[in-house]
């Protein structure tokens, strides 16, 4: 993108540009993203401020973005990007920041549950090829140490036939697992 100027070499903004094609310089801080964000008031940095942190190309501010809770709370509802006058694909940037934050082990402490959820979710798919809800929930409880959550809900769900006791393992499960491992290896290589 012609509007992109890379003043600081290998800043987080630069990496974002290389990997997603999104330029943080495009944001002119109008705040429309934060105005529409369902979680703007729940987070540590509203979305426009995440971009502001990245716009400096400064490693201290970059780290703040990586350690923010916002990137984990982002619901990817895409309201921001759908309305952004500068066509910044903020969810794409959030994805990148999440992946980096997770990879570098800099995730916000409050994001523990969220990461636990993602781990349980992906673990479930890696095992069987599909998401096994009951197994996933149990695994999540184990990871998040949140044993009491939804204790009353589960029986109701079971009663209504909404939770299966046994996972469904697809024929291509091995292939799916290879796929997981290969992408993990690739991620390792680019690190």
């Amino acid at each position: 993108m012609s509007t992109h100027s890379s003043t600081v070499h290998n800043s987080l903004g630069e990496q974002i540009y290389q990997s997603t094609g999104q330029s943080v310089a495009c944001c002119y801080q109008c705040g429309k993203c934060s105005a529409g964000c369902p979680l703007a008031s729940e987070t540590d940095y509203p979305p426009n401020q995440i971009l502001r942190l990245l716009q400096f190309g400064d490693s201290t501010l970059d780290e703040k973005a990586l350690r923010s809770l916002t990137i984990w709370q982002c619901l990817t509802c895409q309201t921001c990007s759908a309305r952004c006058p500068q066509e910044v694909d903020l969810p794409k940037i959030m994805d990148f920041l999440r992946q980096e934050s997770w990879r570098q082990g800099r995730a916000h402490p409050k994001a523990r549950n969220i990461i636990a959820f993602h781990r349980s979710f992906l673990g479930s798919i890696r095992m069987t090829g599909r998401m096994f809800e009951l197994g996933m929930i149990m695994d999540y409880k184990r990871r998040s140490l949140n044993f009491l959550q939804d204790l009353l809900l589960a029986p109701k769900l079971l009663f209504r036939g909404k939770l299966h006791f046994l996972p469904h393992r697809i024929d291509g499960a091995k292939q799916v697992r290879r796929l997981f491992d290969a992408t993990a290896r690739k991620r390792g290589r680019t690190e």
Binding site: Y28, C30, G31, K32, C33, A35, P46, P85
Partner: protein, 664 residues
Amino acid sequence: MSRIGVFVCHCGENIGATVDCAQVAQMSSSIPGVVHSVDYKYMCSDPGQTLIKEAVKEKKLTGVVVAACSPRMHEPTFRRACAEAGLNSFLCEMANIREHCSWVHEKGDQTTQKAADLVRVLVEKVKRNRPLRPIQVPVTKTALVLGGGIAGIQASLDIANAGQKVILVEKDPSIGGHMAQLSETFPTLDCSQCILTPRMVEVAQHPNITLLSYSELESLDGFIGNFKARIRKKARKVDEKLCTGCAVCTQKCPQKKIPSKFNAGLGMRTAIFVPFPQAVPNKPVIDIENCRYFKTGKCAVCQKLCPAKAVRFEQEDEILEIDVGAVVCATGFDVVNTDFFPEYGYGKYPDVINGLQYERLASASGPTLGEIRRPSDGKIPETVVFLACAGSRDRAKGIDYCSKICCMYTAKHAMLYRHKVHSGKAYVFYMDIRAGGKMYDEFVRRAIEEDGAIYVRGRVSRIYERDGKLIVKGADTLLGGEPIEIKADMVVLATAAVASPAAEELAQKLHISYDSYKFFSEAHPKLRPVETNTAGIFLAGACQAPKDIPESVAQASGAASKVCGLFSQDQLSREPLIAAVNRTAPPQYSSCTGCFLCESVCPYRAIERETITTRGGKPIRTIARVNPGLCQGCGTCVAVCRVKAIDLDGFSNSQLYAEVRALA
């Protein structure tokens, strides 16, 4: 034998920092025919030009190549210099080593080599130039002004007051344009109509101005000084000469519920109507789309009641053909349409309105007689939210530019609201406040400091209606992006100013260029801001870019003075770069075979048929001939001519051939 001089300009650092100019001059000296080759810091400066003039005289040059900026910039300068030294000005060419070389490449040997190549191309070209004399053409001293807004009115009056004839064409039934719709004007809060209507009347009464309202340009042919305009005078269905403007018809028309364009859809009008009370001309028009008589064949109330018997249902459009010498294009702007802002409910919620609609609400002549009442229920709103940059500076909506007038009129809107509704709250969401202009920033400060408008820096994400209120969801970026929700009674969007939907078609009729937003392009962004690339056609007002009133008026006066300058001469001289059919010795007389392909490709009908006869008058053969008055020099005929019997001065076959070969 050619004696060519090459003059390489450094343009200060502009060329010199990237291209090794001395080396270019040195390389050029070895081109066959080049007898003189120098480089100099600023060729266009007086000493630079003197350098050229002296070399022309001393070295008896037969051609000059100046390697400098684009010929679109300084070709006239250097040609004049050559002429002053006694060299025919058409024996001077420019090699563009700035815009096409030094500015677009990095410093290096390859860039210097490119500059040298470009010089060589032009040296080979100029060797084949021949001395030419400008063509003289007469000037028709009548100006055509397109658009009767403030810009068109100002241009017309200025030209007419200078003693020249003007034909003012307005597509709507009345002149006045957007300015007639405005309430009060920033930064002085003059009543818009109070300052505009006297000018409108002056136009109508001026002996030098012919006003063609409710008319549109069909086509424009010809060239500077000699245009032929065809104008469609749309049928008003009312005889303007007989109509006295008594308004009986408009009062009695039974079809009363038609949204009035003048009132931006907030008021109603009849099917036979005068757009507003101060309209010029103050003669009604029948809107046949909505007229009961035209829809059902019954009614004709207006015709029956007209005391002057002026209603003419059978009236047809009329096409007028007019000779004009210059055109001022002042066709103005538009505001973006309603499906533009789904997230703001614009077009869905009646109380989300645009700036122009607000002007009508605030105007003493408007549908609410100047009281701020919201459209849905006529209540006086207690909280009004104004959104600046509604669509402007919005790449996602295809409008990257700043509409320029919104910051000021939004401040004015907030101020007017606070003046009229003392207890009301006015919020303005903005991104930046752009108030450059005489007394402009002071005006905005006044809105904030004295009139208590609350400015919030941030864009609004969404507006929805709940319990009769409009919920405005914004964020305050000065509070770190904190979400702000305001329950408003009315929302005013400062919608972007865009080119009129007919702009593209008009530009094509006028053969003028336009930018990617369909605003018309000036010939030079700084130095020729009122001219277009088509000689004899000038720009005024917001058809070129969004502008406020003082700017539009200034540009209109500028365009008018350009027209008057043009009309101050009886004859124009024109570049003689035109085509000609060769003539050879008998028995051929020309290598033209008379296939007349050139005739059918010529856009100017400049190709004529000429019969060559014996002395006794017996026809020998018929060949093509170019009418030099009509030819504009596009050269399409040259490319289709199989035998190359037709050629174009300045871009001749031998020149272009030599230019290509120079790169071998």
